[in-house]
């Protein structure tokens, strides 16, 4: 039965890490704009310099 205690602990940790990932993504503005990235990904590769690492550096 002690296996159950370990499994419960693991399940809480896994679920907790998903929660942490969710909170982190909200905090980093991944839900700020849910439309423009769908347009942006259609641009040709030559525009890469502008299109890369946008979400990470948005903080003023």
């Amino acid at each position: 039965m002690s296996a159950l205690f370990v499994l419960i602990g693991i399940s809480i940790i896994v679920a907790g890490s998903f929660l942490a990932a969710f909170l982190w993504s909200v905090n980093h503005g991944q839900y700020d704009d849910d439309y423009t990235p769908s347009i942006r990904m259609l641009f040709d590769d030559e525009t890469k310099p502008a299109a890369t690492d946008l979400t990470s550096s948005i903080k003023p």
């Binding site: 039965m1 159950l4 205690f5 419960i8 399940s11 809480i12 679920a15 907790g16 998903f18 929660l19 969710f22 909170l23 909200v26 905090n27 839900y31 700020d32 704009d33 849910d34 439309y35 423009t36 347009i39 942006r40 259609l42 641009f43 525009t47 310099p49 502008a50 299109a51 946008l54 550096s57 948005i58 003023p60």
Partner: protein, 781 residues
């Protein structure tokens, strides 16, 4: 243009820009003829951005090598716009990065201030066709974020805790309350206890705060009984767990919080690209050119004093009432009144604030300060100083009856058990309070209104919040504005009479009208649409004669377009006697004329007839003179009140009078002159022809093409209350089932855990279904 179609001038420009010289700079561009004039105008217009104090108010962050700024670009409308705007660094190396937010119509720009000034950035944007909307408001008010991040965190935490508590409670359900190993049972229940703490103290905090605020104002809102239910549920559960008696009702308790937060979030979802609380500051410019002792300098408009002499250039707004001292004024008051043809003003005449000069620069002498001008003094009215005094939603009184009934049930149960079995008294009373929480009432209202907001939005009526649905449903009187509300601004009827023009000739005409910013030129440009022309058009020696016409040579063909006096050629004048005519001369030969006339919006006549049948009181308030009195009286029928020559204050007063007669007034208007009336009315709907257009403070924004569907929107808003009532009856049935267990003191956690999600989910499904079906029946999609 290599047979490519472009949606707008900006996209065409960038294509030329990127295609022809791949990485050419802005300054190379300036050499091209025809655009030079525009560029010059621009460079004067944004001079105020060189003022450091003004610039500081606009930027979000600045260091020696980096400046961050966000601009609102109302013209942004397609994926090509995003492409162009995110490639600014290719046009101007001083810009490090530009990132757009399409739905909010904003661009976030990082640039190097040592290489390019803020003014140059704005000029570049204006040059490629996206003039940033910089207004007085940007400097006086910091931008608020469009959605509440804390609310999202609360939902996330509640969802996590709820699902884990649910999972840990399963053994309890399946073993019908007797888990054999004591260690396991204790682990489960104590884990539940810890998991529920963030829900109680973090996620549910907004419910407690709202309930507390209501109580302090001696108002029992729906949050008060919900807060009570949450407190009872959690404290009884904690008592059971700590004393080792049972598992408590934490699964139901956290579930309630989770569902309610979702309902609230759905209901509060707003429209990113709309602003519902604009005042004149959103329209007015930040800076203005003033002449002092013969020297021109830029000052913020707020510092304008009586007697100042100002210069207003093409497309600039007149910020305060002033006398014309120099130049030809052609003032476009479409912002204010919705009237699109500019008014001609002569030297010495008074020009009211809010108009835009079209044509050459003029000089004016200020006679009223900005806040004391004819149009802006409307905002000194008391109505703008207070938040709109909205009546509280009907769900609050309903919840009061519900709470009253609930307490009587609890007291009855308490009296019964006090005489029969005192040990069951406390469990029964707390169980009653737990199971019969009015959250299903709240859920039915929030989900119904959330779905209705979505359906209204799909049909292009964008409501500020859910409260507007209720005020819309109560409407008894409807007040219309004329110009721009029941008549169309942008898609006026354009007809052409005369010698038929070939496609190539039409393209030449369009090439010339495209160069002009005159409203009539714009109408013709739009009306001709995208023409198939097989050659590149070069427009040379373009000249605009303000208020008269334009001329240019297109590929060697002289084109002259303008009023009859301007073209000054002999032609048969018969058939050109009504409306505005724009004559076309190609190669000095009169070809014919475009006739432009105002048109009523589609469906408006039918809508008015239907509204009359439904006994709404109809009013028409027009700022114009009564030339159209006969047509309008015919349109609105005998019972309607049709008034002309209405000032903004008159409009506001008319609505006030209607309200004193206990009418619930719906006002439909556009332009700043309706702002007071929109604010005073119970429901103010601003009519907007494109989402890019500014609209005054209001409760809702309607797309111009949908004004004819207003009767359907009213009918749908009325159906909302019925839907909430229907789902409320369902939730009462669930409550009866739960209460029958509760009063006997036998409410097991499993019954609560089944009843709670079952009632919540079925109510959510029912209201979503009902509101969608009702929309379809009314004819909305």
């Amino acid at each position: 243009m290599d047979s490519k179609a472009f949606c707008c001038e900006g996209c065409r420009q960038v294509y030329l820009l990127l295609n022809e010289n791949n990485l050419c700079t802005y300054y190379n561009f300036d050499k091209s003829p025809g655009i030079k004039a525009k560029g010059k105008f621009i460079s004067e217009r944004f001079a105020y951005l060189d003022d450091e104090i003004t610039a500081k108010k606009l930027v979000q962050f600045s260091s020696e090598t980096q400046t961050n700024v966000t601009f609102s670009l109302p013209q942004m409308h397609c994926s090509s716009c995003v492409f162009l705007l995110e490639n600014l660094h290719r046009i101007e190396p001083g810009i490090t990065k530009s990132q757009t937010n399409f739905q909010r119509k904003e661009v976030f720009i990082i640039f190097d201030p040592t290489q390019i000034s803020l003014r140059k950035v704005v000029e570049l944007l204006a040059f490629i066709g996206y003039e940033p909307a910089i207004s007085l408001k940007d400097s006086t008010q910091k931008k608020v974020f469009s959605y509440n991040k804390k609310q999202i965190y609360q939902i996330g935490v509640a969802g996590f805790c709820f699902s884990n508590i649910m999972m840990l409670s399963f053994p309890e359900y399946f073993s019908s309350g007797n888990i054999e190993q004591a260690g396991l049972k204790a682990t489960f229940t104590w884990l539940n206890l810890f998991l529920s703490l963030p829900v109680l103290f973090f996620s549910a905090s907004s419910i407690f705060i709202s309930a507390f605020k209501g109580l302090r104002q001696k108002f029992l809102n729906i949050d008060a009984p919900i807060a009570l239910a949450i407190i009872v549920t959690f404290s009884r559960s904690y008592f059971e767990i700590i004393s080792g008696h049972g598992a408590g009702y934490l699964d139901s308790g956290t579930g309630i919080v989770f569902f309610m937060l979702i309902g609230r979030w759905l209901q509060n979802k707003t429209y990113d690209s709309f602003s519902f609380d604009r005042d004149y500051k959103s329209y007015f410019p930040l800076g203005v050119s003033v002449i002092e002792n013969g020297v021109e300098k830029n000052i913020p408009v707020t510092l304008l004093k009586k007697g100042n002499c100002i210069i207003i250039r093409n497309e600039e707004m007149i910020p305060a009432d002033a006398l014309l001292t120099k130049g030809n004024a052609h003032v476009d008051y479409s912002f204010v009144s919705g009237e699109s043809s500019p008014l001609r003003k002569n030297k010495g005449e008074l020009i009211y604030a809010g108009g835009k000069q079209t044509g050459s620069a003029i000089e004016l002498e200020i006679i009223n300060e900005v806040s004391q001008s004819y149009i802006t003094q409307l905002w000194n009215n008391d109505i703008f100083k207070h938040q709109k005094n909205k009546e509280q939603s009907f769900i609050h009184p309903w919840s009061r009856y519900f709470t009253l009934a609930l307490f009587s049930v609890a007291i009855c149960a308490a009296i019964f058990w006090a005489f029969t079995d005192t040990s069951k008294l406390l469990p029964a009373v707390t169980a009653v309070l737990i199971v019969a929480c009015p959250c299903s009432l709240l859920l039915s209202a929030t989900f119904t209104y959330g779905n209705m907001l979505r359906i209204f939005g799909k049909n292009k009526l964008y409501l500020k919040n859910a409260g507007v649905i209720e005020s819309l449903a109560k409407t008894t009187a409807i007040v219309f504005d004329k110009t721009g509300t029941i008549t169309q601004n942008q898609s006026s009827i354009v007809s052409y009479n005369g010698t038929p023009l070939s496609n190539r000739e039409l393209a030449a005409v369009q090439a010339v009208t495209r160069q002009s910013s005159h409203p009539l030129s714009k109408i013709i440009t739009n009306n001709l649409g995208s023409l198939q022309n097989d050659q590149l058009l070069t427009v040379e020696s373009f000249k605009e004669f303000t208020g008269e016409g334009i001329e240019a040579i297109v590929n060697g063909l002289p084109v002259k377009i303008g009023s009859a006096a301007f073209v000054n050629e002999l032609y048969d004048a018969a058939g050109y006697d009504t409306g505005s005519h724009i004559h076309v001369l190609l190669n000095k030969v009169h070809m014919g004329a475009f006739t432009i006339s105002n048109e009523y919006r589609p469906g408006i006549k039918e809508a008015i007839t239907l509204l009359q049948q439904k006994k709404f009181e109809l009013h028409l308030l027009s700022g114009d003179n009564d030339t159209e009195k006969i047509t309008l009286t015919k349109l609105f029928g005998k019972n309607a009140v049709v008034q002309f020559n209405q000032t903004p204050q008159n409009k506001l007063d008319t609505i006030k009078k209607l309200q004193e007669l206990h009418k619930n007034v719906l006002m439909l208007g556009d332009g700043l002159n309706d702002a007071g009336a929109l604010m005073q009315s119970d429901t103010g709907i601003a009519v907007s022809d494109s989402t890019a257009q500014f609209s005054p403070a209001c409760d809702a924004i309607i797309d111009g093409g949908k004004v004819g569907n207003i009767h359907q929107f009213l009918a749908y808003a009325r159906s909302g209350k019925k839907i909430v009532a229907a789902s409320f009856i369902l939730s009462i049935l669930y409550n009866f089932a739960g209460l029958s267990f509760a009063v006997q003191g036998t409410l097991s956690p499993i019954v609560a855990a089944i009843l709670m999600p079952a009632s919540s989910i079925s109510i959510v499904l029912l209201v979503t279904l009902l509101s969608s079906v009702s929309a379809k029946r009314i004819g909305l999609n």
